[in-house]
């Protein structure tokens, strides 16, 4: 069962954030470059929910106001952080504690908690800043420490001393977990006594006897025999109360202090998650308690869920049917309810010190499958590449010097589209999230050549953090959706795929592709590329169908404005046409072909002639056969090409994305 989670955060005037409003899901991966404000985002949530924050921590300072505000205190600016919680309606403790924080949003009940830092005017005319945290819309309903017992956040910091925390008996999650069991004091006392007894056997070892004798004689030599001191040895006292806290956790029989930092991190995070788990259904029940519960109404459910062990205590069965699980939960919730609250876990950079394989595992097994809500910040492409597309929170800087936050929570795409993007993101190690701008292209040739073109134009993509993303088809829609959700600048470069329409005797229309436009040809013609873009734009509700002009030139202009750049034919053909009357550039094309083809001189000759005569489609066919392929051709072209090879629409696309990124 998924626990409640923060479904929306609104931050106003706090640190990096002027005014953000972001939707979140149950598991969120927060990405963005260094010092973009990821930690501040978590801190904003902590101002509301972290029980370890003191009053002083919540009392902010002038420097906590958004940087873009001038003299915020003089101007009586207000900092506000609103947190909406969802998926709580089956948690009775939460309902009991917090139902007066209920608000309705888009027909759905949610809990709203607000932190507000604001000026109060005093009687003498001075103003003084105060903070309040309140429930719902009513400022008099304060959200206090009692409430934070039931809903809170725990942040595991990026710079964490995991080893230290595990060693410290007060902070060790193992000790906290042990406390959840009620271990009989008498049992511990017996064990301690036995330990003490067998420990003192050591004193009977002859070696020890000898040692004691020697110490004693040395001692009396110094003090003189007149003194009446006797030195003896004793083993350490074993305190039954400390028996439990003295336990150490071992991994493959090794002490945590000997483990790598990475493994310690995983261990620590696993233990914390275990600690935060809903304990309504215990994995272990003592004999007496079991008997007591068994006698309650519907107590039979216990028989099918628990197994007696040798000591007549009960352990939960490893595998339980869902029906049983559900019934058991209800039974326990009724007859042995827990006073626990819900903790949302935030982990900063869980990848620290971890091998890439462990980074992936940590996300997949430890975090993704946990019933608690988890927020994590990361720089790891190993994590972003496997995080579900709809769990991304993306931070990027905006014009005003602040940070914008966008999330993919509300991404509304088809399952197969989702798979498509997910596969892409995984293969490309999540690089799409890391860019400041994205050029979407449809094939490998563009993927090789577009970056090179940009360099030739004096606008290298790397410098601006622009990424070329090869969709390997013209299925741009889900990617565009994703990028729009994240409010990331993008352009789309796609082929025009010009065609003529053939009309048969029966009046059936067939499209004829791979032909060049000829003014004398009076057949109707069209561009598949334009209609693909047109469909995307309509599907995404960017522009309504009746607003799209029928004229191809006007269409193209409109699409350009939206970031869609459509060629005439296909990329290679457009490139050949671009440099048509340019001997040097034509020669480069021929040289590359000549170098790559396994055909003979004759064929090379034919390629040159066709290129000169404008039979570009034939040229392309030759590239696609003869063991070359578009990819290999583009790869080599990318070393040799010049600015004059760049088709106009690609140039425009590069200029466009450059401008968009510069605007940020």
């Amino acid at each position: 069962m998924k626990s409640l989670y923060i479904s929306r955060v609104i931050i106003k005037n706090y640190r990096n954030f002027k005014d953000i409003d972001v939707s979140l899901g149950h598991k969120q991966v927060i990405i963005g470059e260094n010092s973009i404000g990821k930690t501040n985002f978590l801190r904003a949530i902590q101002l509301v929910l972290d029980p370890s924050f003191s009053d002083e921590d919540r009392y902010l300072e002038e420097s906590d106001f958004f940087d873009g505000l001038e003299n915020p205190i003089e101007n009586k600016e207000v900092i506000e952080i609103k947190i909406y919680l969802s998926n709580y309606s089956n948690n009775k403790n939460i309902l009991a504690q917090l139902s007066d924080a209920t608000v309705k949003e888009a027909g759905e009940e949610k809990l709203l908690i607000t932190y507000k830092y604001f000026p109060v005017e005093k009687e003498n005319g001075e103003t003084e800043y105060q903070y309040i945290v309140f429930k719902g819309h009513d400022e008099t309903k304060r959200f206090n420490h009692e409430d934070r017992k039931f809903i809170n956040i725990k942040v595991i910091k990026a710079l964490r001393d995991v080893e230290g925390e595990m060693k410290n008996t007060r902070t060790s999650p193992v000790n906290k977990l042990l406390k959840n069991y009620y271990i009989d004091k008498n049992d511990l006392k017996d064990i301690a006594e036995k330990l003490q007894e067998s420990g003192s056997d050591v004193l009977d070892l002859d070696e020890i006897v000898d040692l004691t004798k020697n110490i004693n004689s040395r001692f009396s030599n110094i003090l003189g025999t007149a003194s009446n001191f006797n030195v003896s040895l004793k083993t350490i006292d074993i305190d039954p109360n400390k028996l439990l806290t003295s336990m150490k956790i071992l991994l493959s029989n090794r002490n945590t202090s000997e483990l790598s930092l990475g493994l310690n991190n995983i261990l620590y995070i696993s233990l914390v998650l275990l600690l935060l788990q809903d304990t309504t259904v215990p994995s272990f029940i003592k004999k007496a308690k079991f008997k007591e519960l068994r006698a309650k109404k519907d107590g039979e459910i216990l028989d099918s869920a628990y197994e007696e062990n040798g000591k007549s205590n009960y352990f939960i069965k490893d595998v339980l049917e869902d029906v049983v699980k559900e019934k058991l939960y209800k039974f326990m919730d009724t007859h042995d309810p827990k006073c626990d609250g819900v903790t949302i876990l935030a982990i900063e950079e869980p990848e620290a010190h971890l091998h890439p394989i462990y980074q992936r595992l940590l996300y997949k097994d430890v975090i993704k499958n946990n019933s608690n809500s988890v927020l994590l910040t990361t720089h790891s492409t190993h994590i972003t590449s496997i995080a579900p597309i709809e769990s991304i929170v993306h931070f990027h800087s905006n014009k005003g010097g602040g940070t914008d936050v966008n999330s993919t929570t509300a991404l509304d795409i088809l399952p197969e589209e989702l798979l498509d993007i997910e596969r892409y993101v995984d293969v490309k190690r999540g690089e799409i999230y890391l860019g400041k701008g994205v050029i979407l292209v449809e094939g490998i040739a563009e993927e090789y050549l577009v970056p090179k073109f940009a360099v030739l134009m004096g606008k290298p993509l790397d410098e601006k953090g622009i990424i070329v993303c090869n969709v390997n088809s013209t299925n741009f829609k889900p990617y565009v959706k994703l990028l729009m959700m994240l409010k990331m600048p993008f352009v789309v470069i796609t082929d025009g795929d010009f065609y003529y329409e053939d009309v048969s005797d029966k009046g059936e229309i067939t499209r004829k592709y791979h032909v060049m436009y000829d003014e004398s040809d009076k057949r109707d013609f069209g561009y598949l590329g334009l209609s693909i873009v047109s469909n995307i734009i309509q599907d995404l509700n960017i522009i309504k169908s009746d607003k799209i002009p029928s004229d191809y030139m006007k269409q193209d202009k409109m699409f350009n404005k939206l970031g869609f750049y459509v060629g005439y034919y296909t990329f290679e053909v457009d490139m050949m046409e671009e440099c048509a009357r340019n001997t040097a550039e034509n020669k480069i094309l021929c040289d590359v072909f000549d170098r790559l083809t396994d055909g003979g001189d004759r064929q090379k000759e034919n390629f040159k002639n066709e290129l000169d005569s404008g039979s570009y489609w034939s040229c392309l066919r030759k590239i696609e056969s003869n063991g070359i392929g578009k990819g290999r051709f583009a790869q080599v072209m990318s070393i040799k090409c010049t600015e004059k090879h760049i088709p106009e629409y690609i140039k425009a696309a590069i200029n466009d994305i450059y401008e968009k990124v510069d605007e940020l």
Partner: protein
């Protein structure tokens, strides 16, 4: 009242000796307890609440204990504290109205579109009367003589739900009710009936509201179920059948005497008879002797087989006193002969009650007491003992003795009051501390006026600027009027001798004879009960003759009165009443003994009964 371990143990021992009480105390599922007079229901209820909170309900979840009157809620609170209850969150203790405002409308009304005015603004009594009269006039039904009570009763009956109890409706009153409600809503105002009706609607129709309530209150405890009427019954049915909430309802159908407001015994019985409810009847009477118990069952006209368990060897004294004419003579006899007689026998004044029919009778009677110099106590005061007045009483107690109550508690009420009436920024930062200091100083300084109630109240009201604070209050629309009235009457005859110590004990007689109406006698107990006006036509009222429901309620009313007595029951009547006729003449009307008198007389005044005595 502070926690007393021995008190708790005593009470627990007491419960363990009574198998029926113990069964009610131990139930794990929804239970309805029918508790006859003197059956120890308050003990069962308070201990049950403690047991639920200690053993079955874990924090942060709690329970709701809903009572009929504010007084009952206060009494519960005191009892619980004495038994060792420790404050915890989500324990609601109060009247149905305050439950509806605080837990239903306050938290959820803004989420749904029921046209509930938010924040809730309550119509004042005066404006309500005006509005009602306007409706009556506009509908042209002035001549029919419908009262506000009639209308409100129809409004409560008009609620839809699951109960199959059928109650005849009064069509013209219903028409008035609908028009009144329409106009009330147009004004953006609410009254007590609409608060309950809207709360019931929210609970019936909104699953989320039920979920939240059942999370907060896994148990709902209801006292005096028979007095609570249809909306609460529907609310309970809805919570009980559609959530996991468990009900612990206590009441006595035989003590249902608020028929005029729509409360009838049938609702409690409907709940009691459900298959999914554990029914328990408390049969033991810890108050009266068996003769009193038997007598009360006789006038009820139903056998209940209640057993007197504490005064086992005692016989009752039924005394029948016949006067010549008018109530006046009964008053005189009462103050001149009967009461002095019992005082002479060593019965303390607070063990005596005189029960009359109307408030006006009580007023006349009280002036006789005054003349004669017998201290008396009227449970109904000349002002409303509202939450605010009750707070003043607590303040008075603290001013007198700082250990008697906690200042923190006094302050918290004050803070709530100010927060609810003032701009909210009032309490930011240091001003909260300053406000606390201010209140502390004002109360401490008021000590110098402690001997004069009227001066003390004036002092407090002035320094706290209360009239200003409550001006236009949407939650306490009647409070200013009430306070002005309090200040006025505090210097009048009845309260003239009051100091603040007496004021802080306003709720109970202190070496005084209690004077009360029949309705207000409910819940009280006395060694001696003196009932006036025991003539047929007066009791039962001749206007009830035609309606068997009303007549049955008169039986129950007499049952309530008789069962107030522990030992002695005095019935008084006059042979003639002088009634002023319309033409100004006097009708010397002969009156027969009340049927209740006759029944009791037959059983207890006969020679053989007196001989046994």
């Amino acid at each position: 009242m502070n926690y007393s371990m021995s008190y708790y143990i005593d009470k627990l021992e007491q419960i363990k000796k009574d198998t029926m009480q113990l069964e009610a105390y131990n139930t794990q599922e929804s239970t309805v307890v029918i508790a006859g007079p003197g059956s120890g229901k308050t003990t069962v209820l308070t201990l049950k609440i403690l047991k639920l909170l200690r053993e079955m309900i874990k924090e942060p979840r709690g329970l709701a204990c809903v009572t009929f009157s504010k007084e009952a809620a206060r009494e519960f609170k005191e009892r619980l504290n004495k038994l060792g209850y420790e404050e915890r969150q989500n324990v609601f203790l109060g009247t149905v109205h305050s439950f509806c405002i605080a837990e239903v409308l306050g938290n959820f009304a803004h989420l749904y579109n029921y046209q509930i005015p938010i924040p809730i603004k309550i119509i004042s009594e005066r404006d309500k009367r005006k509005l009602f009269e306007k409706v009556i006039k506009d509908l042209g039904v002035e001549h029919i003589g419908i009262s506000i009570t009639d209308m409100d009763k129809e409004r409560t009956l008009n609620i839809k739900g699951m109960s199959s109890v059928q109650v005849p409706t009064y069509d013209i009153a219903l028409k008035v009710a609908l028009e009144y409600e329409k106009r009330l809503q147009e004004l953006g105002l609410m009254d007590y009936e609409s608060i309950i009706k809207f709360s019931t609607l929210l609970i019936q129709e909104q699953e989320y509201v039920r979920k939240c309530l059942s999370a907060k209150f896994p148990w709902v405890v209801i006292d005096e179920y028979q007095d609570l009427g249809r909306p609460l019954h529907e609310m309970v049915l809805s919570l009980f059948t559609k959530t996991d909430i468990k009900i612990f309802a206590v009441g006595d159908p035989d003590q249902s005497i608020y028929g005029f407001s729509g409360a009838i015994p049938d609702y409690l019985l409907e709940l009691y008879k459900r298959d999914d409810i554990i029914p328990i009847e408390l049969k033991n009477n810890y108050r009266s002797n068996q003769d009193i118990v038997d007598g009360s069952e006789l006038v009820l006209n139903s056998s209940r087989d209640y057993v007197a368990v504490t005064r086992t060897d005692e016989r009752a004294e039924y005394v029948f006193i016949t006067c010549e004419e008018d109530l006046e003579e009964q008053y005189d006899k009462c103050v001149n002969e009967i009461i002095p007689n019992y005082i002479g026998k060593g019965i303390s004044l607070e063990e005596i009650v005189v029960i009359a029919k109307y408030n006006n009778d009580i007023k006349k009677l009280s002036s006789k007491f005054l003349e004669k110099g017998i201290p008396y106590y009227i449970s109904k005061h000349d002002f409303e003992r509202s939450d605010f007045v009750k707070w003043l009483e607590v303040c008075a107690s603290w001013v007198n003795d700082k250990t008697s109550v906690s200042f923190e508690e006094i302050y918290l009420y004050w803070e709530r009051l100010v927060l609810n009436h003032n701009d909210k920024e009032f309490f930011y930062g240091n001003r909260r501390v300053l406000e606390k200091r201010k209140l502390y100083n004002i109360l401490t300084d008021s000590y110098e006026f402690r001997n004069k109630l009227n001066l003390w109240i004036k002092n407090i009201v002035t320094h706290l600027d209360i009239l200003n604070l409550l001006n236009g209050s949407s939650i306490y629309p009647d409070e200013i009027e009430n306070l002005e009235n309090l200040i006025k009457v505090a210097s009048e005859q009845r309260y003239k001798g009051y100091d603040i110590s007496r004021f802080s004990k306003l709720g109970k007689p202190e070496n005084q004879v209690t004077l009360t109406t029949r309705h207000s006698s409910k819940g009280l107990e006395f060694e001696v009960v003196i009932m006036l006006g025991m003539e047929e036509g007066n009791f039962p009222d001749y206007r009830s003759y035609s309606d068997p429901r009303k007549l049955a309620e008169e039986n129950r009313m007499c049952f309530v009165c008789i069962s107030r007595a522990k030992k002695i029951c005095v019935l008084m009547r006059s042979k003639y009443y002088n009634i002023t006729k319309k033409n100004g003449g006097i009708w010397h009307k002969p009156c027969e003994e009340s049927r209740f008198w006759k029944i009791l007389y037959r059983k207890f005044a006969q020679a053989d009964f007196n001989r046994r005595k």
